[in-house]
Symmetry: C2
Subunit: 190 residues, 2 copies
């Protein structure tokens, strides 16, 4: 089976310096067997912890989070980017997207995040860490325990990891990228 | 293992007549083992067909589509509700949402839908059928072949199924609901 790193090498493209496009297997097309592998690999990084629930953000976080949910046999809760009319009582937080240069809100129903729960955050990308911080804040609002963050692809040349680690968060990324340039391609942090 | 029908009976709520809320296991929390079961059951309904790809729409279609992708071992392509800055050349179509009383566009990169492909549509809900018709249109734009639509929950009291069948589409729904009322609850079509 083709590994995540091979997938990145074979199928990721670089539309501009610092930008990686993984539409071929993660963000537009989803390769199911790769999702199982991602789930098992992230799950293994947190195997010593009690985990009751996975938290992610729609839409591109759902597939890797579901992979981890399958590996650990725990439910996946995905934060919504708009408040559904049927959500009566929810936690919310503002998240700044550097990619899209705008703020957005995420919503989680209070019903589905309980104070006694141990929650693992899972996301497809880590860049500046804002979406992870947003989810950490939601977990805190619920009085629940944040176990850490499992990431598929980390842009290690951005500040996300150090910001999250300063917040005391355990960060595990399957792929760490040192640089992305249109000329030299993708360099991994070994 | 608890079945989809039992999940609906136990955990679906009815905020108003005609409206069913399945946030507890499908649209906010996702139960991974249920997704595997949904995938296998929808996959079985289309087992006599060659299927190269699953098509769905973000965000709540992703989990059941991934379940079917896992069952049939084929990639899942999810249509986006906003055009990514990195999408250069895409198919698009307008979809009317009766639930949200507005139109929205869906986008699929031309790169990922080829004329020789056999595509199965998967979605969480079938009500008036507009999102399915939108995906069918995208498949037609690509010159690809639409095998049919696999649905988790069908509101059989709405016109979606008959509209899709008039378009020649094979529709398979795991749960068919005859009526939803705040007073009498959920009645299934047996």
């Amino acid at each position: 089976m083709i590994s995540l790193k091979e997938m990145v090498l074979l199928h990721a493209s670089v539309p501009a310096d610092g930008i990686i496009k993984v539409d071929r297997f993660l963000n537009h097309i989803i390769e199911p067997t790769l999702i199982l592998q991602i789930g098992q690999d992230i799950g293994a990084r947190f195997q010593e912890f009690k985990i009751d629930k996975i938290l992610t953000i729609e839409a591109s976080g759902i597939a890797p989070a579901l992979g981890v949910g399958l590996a650990l046999n725990v439910p996946v809760l995905f934060a919504k980017k708009s408040q559904p009319s049927t959500m009566i009582d929810g936690y919310t937080v503002d998240v700044h997207s550097f990619t899209k240069q705008k703020d957005y809100k995420i919503f989680v129903s209070k019903e589905y995040l309980r104070p006694d729960e141990h929650v693992l955050i899972v996301d497809d990308f880590l860049a500046m860490g804002n979406s992870i911080l947003g989810m950490k804040d939601i977990i805190k609002q619920a009085g629940a325990h944040c176990i850490g963050a499992g990431i598929v692809i980390e842009k290690s040349f951005q500040a996300g990891r150090s910001i999250l680690e300063k917040e005391g968060l355990k960060v595990e990324s399957l792929i760490r990228i040192q640089s992305i340039s249109a000329q030299d391609g993708i360099q991994f942090l070994e």
